[in-house]
């Protein structure tokens, strides 16, 4: 069995209030990927459609999208692990190709969050926790992650100001990413300015500025066997390592509150499979649904020791010019987080970086890139490693 590569990537701009239906949204991302790969839908043997349910009314979206994208009669299916759905889709696409069952598989992530209100969205996301034993207490994602922030601060002396630095970095790159939903600058001072929306309380100790932007969007990753990648593509990027893990849904079942165990476990698996360590990673996309999530990712992936993530951001080592650039496309915080599309968008950023096509966001000559994508509150974790 040969290698498995990515031969094309695409995504829509991440926006608020996409003026179309989910099939039209997916089409925009798919068209972008087909043009990137310079292939047609006929070259694709199967598709995996990824999103989190209940944002739109369509049951079983896979068939509807496959038809609209011209991907019939090839097989399709729906796959979800909340916010990491399309990274999990990549994992299954890899296995379909590696097994020889298919040669080219499309991983199509989408989410149209704007069909429901923000409060409804918080309720949906809260129900990504334990609906029997947690949701009746009134849980929501910012509050869950805030509990990790509180514990991180307690154990390591991390401050709200350290977290604000992560948001400032995200906004630096969100401004230059034309696909980002949040294009405005965010300054450190905004977090201490009561007039600024960034300083508004959400769930202590997290503030508005610590939270990612909801968005509508679609992403597409085209995965191919080595043989097909070489014949179809001049610039394939290879999947070197894949890791995935699951944890207890209910936080009562966890034993780590200053990090995410699924990220550590998935990272270790991916590093082992790729035969590398954290030091070999030249550019990374991590799941910064909240600022604290990026801080924990630094530590869980081994970019910093536990408790030392704050030093990495303070010294700007995760900026584009630093030793380990992270989320130099704006991340979920500024680029936006259309749940099912997020993982595929992270993969797209890394593929463009490795091909040297990331424009103003380009890191100098990266060889190895990493994607860290989390579903729920550290319920599902996927880490994927790519190389040229």
């Amino acid at each position: 069995m040969g290698k498995v590569g990515v031969i094309g990537v695409g995504q829509t701009a991440f926006v608020r209030g996409y003026p179309g239906s989910i099939r039209e949204l997916a089409f925009d991302g798919f068209k972008d990927a087909l043009r990137d790969a310079d292939i047609s839908a006929k070259d694709i043997d199967a598709s995996i459609i990824c999103s989190a349910p209940e944002y739109d009314k369509q049951r079983s979206p896979a068939g509807v999208l496959a038809e609209y994208l011209g991907l019939t009669p090839q097989p399709t299916c729906y796959l979800e692990t909340l916010c990491s759905s399309s990274s999990m889709g990549l994992r299954y696409a890899y296995s379909l190709v590696k097994s020889g069952l298919h040669h080219v598989v499309a991983v199509i992530g989408f989410q149209k969050m704007s069909e429901i209100s923000s409060a409804e969205s918080q309720e949906r996301m809260g129900r990504g926790g334990d609906i029997q034993w947690e949701s009746p207490f009134g849980t929501m994602m910012p509050a869950y992650y805030a509990m990790f922030a509180r514990r991180h601060m307690e154990e390591y002396g991390t401050t709200p100001e350290d977290l604000a630095l992560i948001r400032v970095k995200a906004a630096t790159y969100g401004q230059i990413n034309e696909k980002a939903v949040y294009r405005k600058p965010v300054t450190f001072e905004m977090f201490s300015d009561p007039e600024s929306p960034m300083s508004g309380p959400v769930a202590s100790p997290l503030r508005v500025g610590d939270c990612c932007a909801n968005a509508d969007g679609a992403s597409v990753v085209l995965v191919a066997s080595e043989e097909r990648a070489k014949s179809l593509s001049k610039k394939p990027v290879w999947i070197l390592g894949l890791g995935a893990a699951t944890a207890s849904v209910n936080l009562a079942g966890r034993d780590l509150f200053s990090g995410l165990k699924v990220a550590k476990e998935a990272g270790e698996q991916a590093y082992k499979m790729a035969g590398i360590t954290a030091k070999n990673v030249n550019v990374a996309e991590v799941h910064d649904c909240f600022t604290i999530a990026e801080m924990m990712a630094y530590e869980n992936l081994g970019f910093a020791k536990p408790g030392e993530g704050k030093d990495l951001i303070k010294s700007k080592e995760t900026y584009k010019e630093g030793s380990i650039p992270v989320n130099v496309d704006g991340g979920l915080l500024s680029k936006g987080h259309p749940i099912g599309a997020t993982g595929g968008s992270q993969v797209r950023t890394i593929v463009l970086q490795l091909r040297g096509e990331a424009g103003d966001m380009q890191v100098k000559d990266p060889e190895i890139g990493l994607v860290h994508n989390i579903g729920g509150v550290g319920l599902y974790g996927n880490v994927s490693i790519f190389g040229r």
């Binding site: 918080q122 129900r127 849980t139 959400v202």
Partner: protein, 144 residues
């Protein structure tokens, strides 16, 4: 007209808004009504569960007994919400938290009568059954 099937949907009383009505651990609600917060223990292998379960994943037994959550736990972490999901707005502000009892942990809410300034990670707290203003039942953490 057939006879109406009796449905034991006691669990719909759990929390401000319950998203589950039927479960094999519905007795949890009756215990809450009696002022008790209960976990379950497998009578075959002795494994204790909170939240309570009807089935033991370790030995596959469904022979469980109810055991009260008692004594003091330590506050692992918490967050005070200033914004709530739909259906919970009237409860604001409230704090969700995790309490560590050593052998197990409990996820819940901190009692609204504990002033925020007095909440400290590591503090000892107890878990108490509670009736909400809308008549629903839950449990809350109080200062030990």
């Amino acid at each position: 007209m057939g006879k109406k099937r009796e449905v034991d949907d006691r669990f719909k009383k759990f929390g401000t808004v319950s998203f589950t009505s039927i479960t094999k651990v519905n007795d949890f609600i009756s215990y809450l009504e009696d002022g008790k917060v209960m976990g379950s223990r497998c009578k075959e292998c002795g494994l204790f569960f909170f939240p309570p379960r009807a089935d033991c994943h370790q030995c596959l037994s469904s022979n469980m007994e109810w055991v009260e959550v008692s004594g003091k736990g330590k506050l692992v972490t918490y967050s005070k919400l200033e914004f709530a999901p739909i259906g919970f707005g009237d409860d604001l502000p409230y704090a969700i938290a995790v309490l560590d009892y050593g052998d197990y942990k409990v996820f819940g809410r901190i009692s609204s009568d504990v002033p925020e300034g007095e909440i400290k990670v590591g503090m000892e707290m107890t878990t108490k059954a509670n009736t909400l203003p809308n008549g629903q039942l839950n449990y809350v953490f109080q200062k030990a």
